[in-house]
């Protein structure tokens, strides 16, 4: 089977969804990880557990929570629908939210460990040299934690690409709109299109292996360079 629209459309959609989700969890995950690594506050342990929960919960359960939250009659969803006349349900943005929630702990965990691995002495040295808190973060903390953050982000992207359960719950399986690669594989198998399923599986596997190999190479290059 060649690169027909049957393959290219879900592949492009998957990359768009996984890319957007990764960007989202990168920004939120890094910010929250930094706060958790550098600040102490009551209930910190509970927040940490909450942030890690998507890692161990079944994606279908997460999807259900998302429906409760964002469904047209959901806590947030009702307000969004009343205000904008729009709902997250069965849209590619919904798939992004589902993938982001599932991939979030990977960035959060990796970034938190990376920030905690940066000795406070470097940050303090920067402060005595006249650096503002923003500069300490941007020029000392992040460059020293970068490797771990990047590794977590790469894993998050791979995880977002493979997201199935939560995505199906909130975004469904609409060809060309919300049907990502992993869902297309499922649909192909269900409808007996074995060669189609084979090809989709090979494409997905190849992309995932390329990402992991690429991230590994990037990390090694950084190690040698710094």
């Amino acid at each position: 089977m060649q690169f027909s629209p049957d393959v290219l459309v879900p592949l492009a959609l998957t990359l768009k969804v996984a890319g957007s989700a990764t960007l989202l969890v990168f920004i939120v995950g890094v910010a929250v990880a930094w706060i958790m690594a550098r600040h102490d506050f009551p209930g910190r342990e509970i927040v940490d557990a909450m942030m890690t929960l998507p890692l161990v919960m079944p994606p279908t359960v997460l999807g259900y929570y998302l429906i409760v939250l964002f469904g047209r009659r959901g806590w947030l969803g009702a307000w969004i629908y009343d205000t904008f006349g729009w709902t997250l349900m069965f849209t590619w943005q919904g798939a992004v939210v589902a993938a982001a929630v599932v991939a979030y702990p990977l960035v959060y965990k990796a970034a938190r460990a990376a920030f905690e691995g940066v000795s406070a002495k470097y940050e303090n040295a920067a402060r005595t040299l006249g650096a503002s808190e923003w500069r300490v973060f941007a020029q000392v903390t992040v460059p020293l934690a970068w490797r771990g953050i990047l590794a977590g982000t790469m894993l998050a992207f791979a995880r977002a690409m493979g997201e199935f359960g939560a995505t199906l719950m909130i975004a469904g399986s609409i060809p060309g709109k919300t049907q990502t690669l992993s869902i297309a594989v499922y649909e192909a198998v269900q409808s007996g299109k074995d060669s189609m399923a084979n090809f989709l599986v090979v494409v997905t596997s190849t992309v995932c292996i390329l990402i992991l190999a690429g991230s590994g190479k990037l990390l090694r290059a950084r190690q040698d360079g710094a």
Binding site: T128, L129, G130, A131, S132, L144
Partner: protein, 253 residues
Amino acid sequence: MSARLSVAITKHLQSRGRSFVLDVTFDAPDEILVIFGPSGSGKSLTLQCVAGLVRPDTGVIRAGDRSMFDAAAGVDVPARYRRIGYLFQDYALFPHLNVMQNIGFSFAQRWPAGLDEQARAKVASMLELFELEGLARSYPGQLSGGQRQRVGLARALIREPALLLLDEPFNALDPLLRDRMRRELVEFGRRFAVPMVVITHDPDDVGALAHEVIVMKEGRVAKHLGVADLPSAADYAPGYRRAVRAILEDATG
């Protein structure tokens, strides 16, 4: 004459059921004050309070005629505005920056880091003064202990700080190198006309550097010794170090 550094602070620390109370009052001379004491006596904590890295509970810290901290008046100048240099125990050179970028760090206020003409000239003159020209593009991981210390000093002194704090500056060095680095330190201090506060648990540092010594014990100043209280025969005469040790050991009980 007002003292260069005047400290009167308390700080209560509590962690895992153990508590520590720092309660120190001292004035530092224009030259070198050595804070001597065993580990856990509160030396580093005192230095961190002076630098603005740790906030004392109560008290006052003044450097020259500037108030750095005054609990009653609500003054707490952030570390970055204190102009107090700090040489960390193992120098804390930024591992991701080369020697030149480390020394120029206090100038690179814009992001991404870039140095203007004037700053670059200043970094070059520091490289020359500290005999680091050949290492400008080396990373801290590639330097020897003595070279690292010189980079750390150059990085702190390029800002022309009003005061330089040094945390166990010779601890990480080869014993053979220590005497030479002590002499270099005294020389740089004079050259930049910067008063210094050096903390150490090595009596030899006291003999080689101190104009005044405070001996700390369990968070308090156990004794404040002037230059007149120390044995006068310098030049490392035999018996000199022993005499210094005896005085310090007496003070720490």
